[in-house]
Amino acid sequence: MLDFFMGHYAYWFTLILLAIGLYGMLLKKNLVKKTIGLSIFQAAVILFFVSVAMKKGATVPVKAKGIPVSEVSNYLNALPHTLMLTAIVVGVATLGVALALIITIYNRYETLNEEELLDKIQ
């Protein structure tokens, strides 16, 4: 039972974070809050991958003296870390574009509320 809890609690926290992000994206009306929800969702996915890559009794994937590389269980799997590094960078870039779009929308329509915005566009 304790084993089960210790093996899964990280997944549960990330999934709760995922649900918070989804709630922000779907139910909030403010565009900035929607973007924050998107960002939280993304952080949850990245945290999920990083926590899956965890290996007990292993060290970080940087070659150290005295820890032989030939024994694979000495080091963490470096592939999820690398891919998540890429995902973080791309996520920050898209977040920047989203914020720039929000600035443009606010300058033109003077509102960030989704419903008011739809009314003004029509």
């Binding site: 210790m6 899964h8 997944y11 989804l22 899956v52 070659k63 470096a78 592939l79 920047g96 574009v97």
Partner: protein, 95 residues
């Protein structure tokens, strides 16, 4: 609806392998399809191939350099789009 979704996700998480167990499928030598797991190859051969101690750097810069190039293109175009979006507004203010 979101509560239902979260409950389904939390239930599905109980079937995931225990976190940190070195005997997990992803840490084994071969995947279920019989091919070698790439992570193990990276750990064993990264220093031998590139003579850099940091395995993450070796994967990012050597094995997946084309992927990283694509990433750079994404960042560059994002910066360009931000610049164009914000600059256009500035011109309209001047007029």
């Amino acid at each position: 609806m979101i509560i239902t979704f979260t409950t389904v996700l939390l239930y599905a998480a109980s079937d995931l392998p225990l976190r940190g167990n070195p005997d997990n499928q992803m840490n084994q030598r071969e995947s279920i399809t019989g091919t070698e797991v790439p992570g193990n190859y990276y750990i064993r051969e990264a220093y031998h191939d590139a003579h850099t101690p940091n395995i993450v750097t070796v994967i990012l810069g050597d094995y997946r350099s084309v992927d990283t190039l694509g990433e750079q293109i994404v960042i560059f175009s994002a910066g360009l789009i931000c610049f164009l979006l914000l600059r256009k507004r500035g011109q309209n203010d001047d007029e």
